[in-house]
Symmetry: D2
Subunit: 281 residues, 4 copies
């Protein structure tokens, strides 16, 4: 390599650097592990963990991660993300584009619930670590949460399901993992304490939903809160792809949200004439 290239190399190295992947011609290593030694020995979920954490998980840890990832793949075309994927598939774009338009809307409201729930659990845990009783810690953290985010507590309650069938099953898995020492179990307990507190004074409880339950898994496994959103995006990408693909096979061109013959209501200014513009007469 001549001097010019060497210098440019040094400068580009300053600009782009990573601990994730190491590449040389013929060599690919992730966090130091050669790819050919990983293939066939670690699962997709283990690889996801390695990429995000820099270390390989135990099989028991990755089984929990696996369960959280597989349980959030889809909640049907009523969800904006899935509807977007399906509509995009009728517009003459690729599957990658349909996936992008859909994943893009997994924002604070549609994809951020898991992240917000992890933050809530961590806030409770921090108060307990500071010496407060669990009940008080929960009350205070919830009050802070509602002050910042409003009355809907992410991870609890569902507009459609009286009880979200995914949540209790995921909690069972966390309990089993805690019983065998894979995880600590403290975030499962905190989440249940939040659920109990939310039920106080109500005729109907506000049970934990999929986001509250996957947040327990992610918190137990030590993922930072923003990655709860990231992991949900990976998980929901599966449903997004599946629905885009199903729609592709169903066909359709420029499929909109409602059948073509039903037009949206116009509730604006009645018909009027364009006033004379300057220079017209």
């Amino acid at each position: 390599m001549n001097d010019k290239k060497q210098d440019a190399q040094l400068l580009s190295e300053d600009w782009w650097h990573t601990k994730i992947i190491d590449m040389q011609p013929g060599v690919i290593r992730y966090s130091g592990y050669p790819i050919q030694d990983l293939i066939g020995r670690v699962s997709f979920a283990q690889m996801i963990w390695l990429m995000l954490r820099g270390e390989l998980p135990s099989r028991a840890q990755s089984d929990l991660l696996d369960a959280a990832l597989m349980s959030g793949v889809d909640h049907g075309p009523q969800a904006p993300s899935i509807a977007i994927a399906r509509m995009a598939a009728t517009c003459g774009v690729g599957l990658n584009n349909a996936m992008a338009s859909a994943v893009n809307v997994l924002g604070d409201v549609h994809g951020g619930a898991g992240e917000q729930a992890v933050e809530l659990y961590l806030a409770v845990a921090a108060r307990i670590d500071a010496g407060k009783a669990e009940a008080l810690a929960v009350k205070e953290a919830l009050a802070d949460y509602v002050h910042e985010h409003g009355k809907f507590v992410s991870g609890f309650g569902h507009r459609f399901h009286p009880v979200d069938p995914r949540a209790p099953r995921l909690l069972e898995l966390v309990d089993a993992a805690a019983a065998s020492g894979v995880v600590n179990g403290r975030f499962a307990q905190i989440a249940r304490a939040v659920e109990a507190e939310l039920a106080v004074g109500r005729s109907k409880p506000i049970p934990m939903n999929i986001d509250g339950a996957t947040a327990v898994v992610y918190a137990e496994l030590g993922f930072p809160a923003p990655l709860a959103r990231g992991l949900f995006c990976l998980s929901r990408s599966v449903g997004i792809l599946a629905h885009a693909w199903e729609q592709t096979q169903q066909g359709g061109r420029n499929k909109g949200p409602i059948p073509r013959q039903f037009i949206p209501t116009y509730d604006g200014v009645p018909p009027r004439s364009v006033p004379l513009q300057e220079g017209e007469n």
Copy 2:
């Protein structure tokens, strides 16, 4: 600048280069024109032309471009792009994100009609230039088009409007520009010949629509076909922004395509039990 930086500069210059913009500290020029001399003297439409073509248009040319851009801004929430923008706005993402998810679906089917119509007009023109009579040139180009794209000819016919009110008005402007020598007028004539040919043997004509008409404008002004799609994206971005903003003001959280109480039909496999997995017993 020391040698090392100089060399890296040279290399990065090889990698990223442009005829569009020239920047030095305190200096910004587009195709050679200093920005401070353009501001207040050329319109947004003129600037769009400059950025895409490298030269400033005459006022008469930019007036035509202006008309094509302003006439395509919106066709309501029935269009997937607009529905996507509105749904995105309820998901907790920014206006830029809502715009991105929506512009993204302006693909071959939803945003490519203008591009395809320009290609068709150019194909007719090429045949005429090769010495064929207009009627034959139109017949042959249409046959090729249908062979490649199917029976729906982009730019003609509308699922909702018997006559698209935007098309005849745009053609009037092109005719006036042709009469005063601003444009040649040949693509307006070709488009009308296509329209006439499509009507042969039908009880109802298949009149030119907005895409067919803006394609006439873009072809007359000398834009290459792919930019007809690019310009449509700029134009429709306005409606996308307006609807995302209106939806933001209307509020809503995770608004889906149909009201929540109406669930999509499931027409798949009936309920069944998960079979024993390997290792289970």
Copy 3:
């Protein structure tokens, strides 16, 4: 229409409604104005105003809007949005997709400066309206701003330009519009007061940049703060399209950020062996 369709129509009307566009077969009206009466009489910038505000602007108002829109179209491939558009164009996606990936990143940091500057000006104005002296109002609003957003005040200072050549020219136009009564001029004054306050105690001033100047225009014209971001997205979409198109013509496949021979630095864990996985021996 039979009863079933009528009822569904009523329900879909409840779900999708808009004041922007009114459509019937053969009829399209924006805020009540028939499209065929707008075409050829109002410019793209006037149409943008109509779509976002529901009323047509005067020519003098739209001239100011035009200037703000045309002045922000591009700042070269060093900006992430433009680099993304160019790289996308080498990946085998459409211009609409390249535009989407790029517009998408005009987030709080890359596209939100205008919005934040409008908010700052409005915060100063509110304090003045509440009876405070301008100097105090500026000091207080800036202190609040820095508390919330950090020490970089959006709209002021530039990493590349000692003086951004776009800002003083835009302010001239605002001053002229204020002199002729088109706008009030108060936000130009507030912005200059902010600029003066930021210079206090510094050897070099922190002059207003393009975002600070377009924010003055948008605030003078009465646009709410979030639309400053939306309008910037429309404006920058022009540069995004132009660069994607230029890159398309330059060619290239999978063009990355730096030349292929320069690989990013790996600064992570050294090479290591994959440990025995459970079940292996």
Copy 4:
């Protein structure tokens, strides 16, 4: 439910329908399987299969899918998708948005190689099924491929790796699966025959790369070609997320492709004055 709602329900059912997911309050089933019976019993890879195919795979089948998914997660920040994710993360958008801008560019050139390789293998297989000898079938299918796509054959050769370390390892897994009857093995053979044919008359072979090898896996497992792209998008989303997250932790604001002090080359029109515009004097 009253008549009006019932009718609207019927109509919305006509418009949105799916075989993927069945939802009732408290009930979620995928292809008939209740979610609570799947959680903890099937892996993420098995769930991906179920969502795309409608049936659960055997463990051996999902192990192969797992290997293909985990082997394609990342090829470093030199790839446009990863660079885009990292740059996006510095622009003030969410992880979901960074992922979307990046996944979006996995188009024909950057993400379509697996799909194109599956198509090629299927074209060879179809010719063999029609009675042609393998060697001839390969020659003909390759000739057709080059005619349509150009001289670079997707799935073979690499600009950086003399031998892609992922490909031979994946083929080993396919061979093992074929030996035990999990898959047929015909596409592994076809891919090797393609590799051999490409080497004819060259001093250096053009060895199979990751896309050629995952295409073998997907073809062996019976996935249609477009899903090879979809599955790659799921796989690469992991690297995209990991790099966006790493960049978030590294910090940076509006990080562009090259260091700020190195500006792209301007190779366009030299500085010039804006000509008098109409109405100016």
